[in-house]
C-alpha cells in the first residue's frame, strides 16, 4: 500500500494547502478525499471542495454546502457554494448602492447588485476570497482543495497577479490625487485631510492579494497535485496545467495522479488499449512524482469505497 501523503512530503507551513487540479470528471474529488484521509493522521485537516459538481456532499454524507462539518477527530470537510457566496458577497453591497442610489441613477446603476453575481469574474473572485481566508486560518495543519474544472481554477490562481497590477495603477493615481489635494488645501489655507479612506482601502487590498500571490507561488505553503485519466483530453489538460504552473506561478507539481486506469483485458475489449497505452507512456515520461490508480469496478460513492482505493495505488515515480 502506497502513501500519497508520503509522496507529498515535506509539507511545511500552517496551514499547508494542497490544491488538486485537473479536467472535470477525472476523479479530483476522490483523489482529494484520499489525500485528506491520509493527512489527518499527521495533523488537523480540512477538505474543501470548490467544485460545483458537489460530489463531496454525497461521498462524505454532508447535509448542505457552506458548513464546515467534522467527519472525525482530525478531519473536517466543507462544500462551498460559489453561487450562494457570490449572492452573499454582492448583497452585502446592495445597501451601500441603495444609499448612493440618487447619485447612481444618473449612471443607470440601480440594478447593478441584482445582476452582479452573473458578471464575468465574480466566480473567480469568490474562489479567491475563500483561498485568502484559508491561507489565514491557522486552525488546520493541512487544507486539501478540490478545485472546479481547469479553466476557472487556473484563472483564479493567476488573479492575484492581475489584481496587484490594477491596484498598483489605482494606488499611483490615488496617491497623486491625495498629494495634490494636500498641496492645494495647504496653499489656500484650507483644512487639510491627511488620511484618505480610498487609499487606505487600496493598501489593505494590496496586502491581502500580495499574501495570496506569494503563498500560491511558495512550495512551503502550497503543493499542487494534478489528476488525469489515460485519455487524450485529460492528458492535454495535464500538459496545459504543467505549462501554467511553470510559466505563471514558477511552481512544479508535487504529485501527478493517473486515475481510472483500465485493466488490459477490459481496455482491449473496449478498443481503448492502444490509446491508454500511449497516455500511460507519456505519463511515465513526465519527470515528477507520480502514481496510477486502477479503475474501480464499482464506482465509488462513499468515503469507505474511496479509502479502499489506496490499496491499489501503483507508484510510477517516487
Amino acid at each position: 500500500m502506497s502513501s500519497l501523503a508520503g509522496l507529498l512530503s515535506p509539507l511545511e507551513g500552517r496551514p499547508h494547502v494542497i490544491i488538486v487540479l485537473g479536467k472535470g470528471g477525472v476523479g479530483k474529488t476522490s483523489t482529494s478525499i484520499l489525500i485528506a484521509s491520509e493527512l489527518k493522521t499527521q495533523g488537523k485537516t480540512l477538505l474543501v471542495s470548490f467544485d460545483q459538481a458537489k460530489h463531496i456532499l454525497r461521498y462524505l454524507n454532508l447535509r448542505r454546502s457552506m458548513e464546515i462539518v467534522e467527519i472525525d477527530d482530525n478531519l473536517s470537510a466543507c462544500q462551498l457554494d460559489i453561487e450562494a457566496s457570490a449572492r452573499e458577497l454582492t448583497s452585502r453591497y446592495s445597501d451601500l448602492v441603495a444609499e448612493l442610489f440618487p447619485s447612481l441613477t444618473v449612471l443607470n446603476l440601480e440594478d447593478v447588485t441584482k445582476v452582479l453575481k452573473y458578471a464575468p469574474g465574480v466566480e473567480e473572485e469568490v474562489f479567491l476570497r475563500w483561498l485568502a481566508d484559508i491561507y489565514e486560518n491557522r486552525e488546520y495543519s493541512y487544507v486539501v482543495i478540490d478545485t472546479p474544472p481547469t479553466g476557472i481554477s487556473l484563472r483564479t490562481l493567476v488573479l492575484p497577479r492581475l489584481y496587484l497590477i490594477w491596484l498598483d495603477k489605482l494606488i499611483n493615481i490615488r496617491e497623486r490625487i491625495v498629494s495634490l489635494r494636500y498641496v492645494i488645501s495647504k496653499t489656500l489655507g484650507r483644512e487639510v485631510k491627511v488620511s484618505d479612506p480610498a487609499l487606505n482601502k487600496l493598501y489593505e487590498l494590496k496586502e491581502v492579494y500580495s499574501k495570496v500571490k506569494d503563498a500560491l507561488s511558495s512550495a512551503s505553503r502550497t503543493s499542487y497535485v494534478i489528476v488525469t485519466n489515460p485519455e487524450p483530453l485529460p492528458m492535454f489538460e495535464l500538459r496545459e496545467i504543467l505549462n501554467f504552473l511553470d510559466s505563471e506561478l514558477m511552481m512544479k507539481p508535487k504529485l501527478l495522479v493517473m486515475n481510472k486506469v483500465l485493466p488490459r483485458d477490459v481496455a482491449t475489449k473496449l478498443g481503448t488499449y492502444d490509446e491508454q497505452a500511449r497516455a500511460i507512456e507519456e505519463f511515465k515520461s513526465i519527470q515528477y512524482r507520480s502514481v496510477m490508480i486502477p479503475y474501480a469496478n464499482n464506482p465509488s460513492s462513499r468515503l469507505e469505497d474511496i479509502v479502499k482505493l489506496r490499496e491499489f495505488i501503483v507508484v510510477v515515480r517516487g
Binding site: 453591497y93 451601500l96 490594477w166 493615481i173 490615488r174 495634490l180 482601502k201 487600496l202 487590498l205
Partner: protein, 97 residues
C-alpha cells in the same frame, strides 16, 4: 516728499503682493485642473465595471465605492448639471433664457 516716497513704497509692496497672489492662484488653478482630471480618471476606472466598461473587477469597484461616497455625490452633481447642457451653456453666458 517723504509722504510721496512712503506712498510709492506702499504701492510697490501691494504690487509685489498682488503679483505673488496672481502667481499663487495661477499655480493652484493648474494643480486644481490636474486634481479634477485625475479624480475623474480614478472615478471612471472605479465605476467603469458597474456600467459595462471593463477596467477592474466589479467586486473591487464595490469595495472602493464605500470609501468614495463624497466623490460619487460630487460626480452626481456634475452629471445632473450635464443633463441640461444647453441650459448650463446659456446660463454661463448670463441673462434670462
Amino acid at each position: 516728499m517723504f509722504k510721496l516716497v512712503k506712498r510709492f513704497l506702499g504701492e510697490l509692496v501691494l504690487f509685489v503682493k498682488g503679483i505673488n497672489r496672481a502667481i499663487l492662484e495661477d499655480s493652484v488653478s493648474a494643480l486644481e485642473l490636474e486634481y479634477s482630471e485625475l479624480e475623474a480618471a480614478f472615478m471612471t476606472i472605479v465605476l467603469g465595471p458597474l456600467v459595462g466598461v471593463k477596467t477592474v473587477s466589479p467586486i473591487l469597484s464595490l469595495e472602493l465605492l464605500s470609501t468614495l461616497k463624497d466623490e460619487v455625490k460630487f460626480l452626481e452633481s456634475r452629471a445632473l448639471k450635464g443633463k441640461d447642457l444647453l441650459g448650463d451653456l446659456m446660463s454661463s453666458l448670463g441673462g434670462e433664457w
